[in-house]
Symmetry: C2
Subunit: 254 residues, 2 copies
DNA sequence: CTTGACCTTAACGTAACGTAAATGTTTATA
DNA sequence: TATAAACATTTACGTTACGTTAAGGTCAAG
């Protein structure tokens, strides 16, 4: 089967412009060019386009897609996982936005017309909140309570499906962690997998991720007895083991 | 108080480039230019920048912001409401994305490596689903059941807060609608407000909105006795009144 | 008088195409 | 077979909100 831009485009549901653009950036080149200069695509190109569209569907950028499908050694899983984090972060931001728009609308409806000062105050509050999230570690060292408070906030905008997913993640993490502890090596593959799962869980809980906060939080699990009790309930030392695994995972300690 | 780009930028947390760009596109011009060609901003400009940043915070584009703050007659509420719809739609899309990435990751973990065919099949399914949403009216005329089925699907990715909001919206809509019915005029302000509220509710339920589907759905409320019973339980004729109001609201009927 | 901090304009880069514009090729039909 | 419709090509500007040089003036301090 051979296709021109039009036929292939129709088949796959993309524009001819898209196919020419893909040719231009080298992500999908036609099998050959015929005597009239037309692009001719074959089976292999159809398959490749399907792959491209698949990843595009996931919101991956074309450059990254190229890397994924061109390099067989490429770690697609890591790439997808990082991408997932970006998406979760984006979603969290969107939810804050939606909330703010609704609040604005509500205040208008109630004729409580916010003053510009109040609007700006709200704006600054958000900036501060973002900063606090970025530099959460330092802040948490001083205000441990507040950090917990904030993390609870993240739950407000979480869907039921998200919540279920989080619980699943935690269950699996604890399972893997328990198994890892039998070996006793926080640098081992199982312990590292547990750290990775914990990272995913954390990303959901905070709508964001950074290594320092991750390492800091697991340290808190050890320092704060309420957390320690929770993690150590099945097996004493679990919180400390998780902290060690995460410190290695995040590169905070070798 | 007078500010140069640097001072104002620091105060408001934006870059000097941003201020120059705002000057360039005419959304924020300095109060005056001094003898050295420097931009000098005053109190009024600080206020205006705060307004700009406020709307930007809501994700509104600069062009729209300009329209909002320049034209005192501009209907900011409608603009915000439309913007909210866009955001909700975006969020729904994002959730589908996140789900797909997770599924992909899950299938990789389980070594069930999806074949390209399967991937593409999933991709097509989504395209079809999108089409069905776009041309939902025709489809629903033939498959009323399926439409309901699909709308139920939208709930899957809805957060608890969203759900609560939806219920609130419906309660308010019914309240306004009941009040509007005492006048008996589906073109009156109250009836039109009810239609607007119903639109907002619908946008949440479907993650998307279009007039045809809106009008079609309210017609369905009248045609399908299960819906009619639901809407008419307090007051007979409510479903028909809502349909009339929405047909006028959407411009499907004068 | 120099240094450094600040200011200016100009202009390219970004992501992924949409949309002409100008023009050549293939196919269907009268 | 002539011609129109459908399809192909390349080129290049537009989109959004700035970031980032580049090349060069201004101003206060030491």
């Amino acid at each position: 089967m051979e296709y021109t831009v039009h036929k292939l485009g129709k088949m796959a549901g993309v524009s001819t412009r898209t196919l020419r653009y893909y040719d231009e950036i080298g992500i999908l080149k036609p099998a050959r060019i015929n005597s009239s200069g037309y692009r001719i695509y074959g089976r292999a190109e159809v398959d490749r386009l399907q792959q491209i569209l698949f990843y595009k569907e996931l919101g991956v950028g074309l450059e990254d897609i190229k890397a994924i499908i061109d390099d067989p050694a490429f770690d697609a899983e890591t790439a997808l996982r990082e991408h997932l984090e970006k998406l979760l972060h984006k979603k969290a931001q969107l939810e804050i936005l939606i909330d703010n728009v609704r609040k604005t609308l509500a205040s208008r409806e109630g004729r409580i017309t916010m003053s510009d000062q109040e609007k700006f105050a709200g704006f600054k509050e958000k900036l501060i909140a973002e900063n606090e999230q970025k530099y959460g570690k330092e802040a948490r060292e001083k205000y441990g309570e507040e950090a917990v408070e904030r993390s609870n906030q993240a739950f407000k905008n979480m869907s039921q499906a998200d919540y279920a997913k989080m619980q699943e993640l935690e269950v699996e993490m604890r399972k893997v962690l328990a198994e890892a502890m039998t070996s006793g090596d926080p640098a081992g593959p199982l312990a590292q997998k547990a750290a990775a799962l914990h990272k995913e869980w954390l990303t959901m809980a905070w709508g964001q991720y950074n290594k320092e906060a991750h390492a800091g939080l697991t340290q808190l699990y050890v320092d704060d007895e309420r957390f320690t009790a929770y993690y150590d309930r099945e097996q004493p030392g679990t919180a400390a083991f998780l902290r060690d695994a995460v410190q290695i995972y995040t590169g905070m300690k070798k």
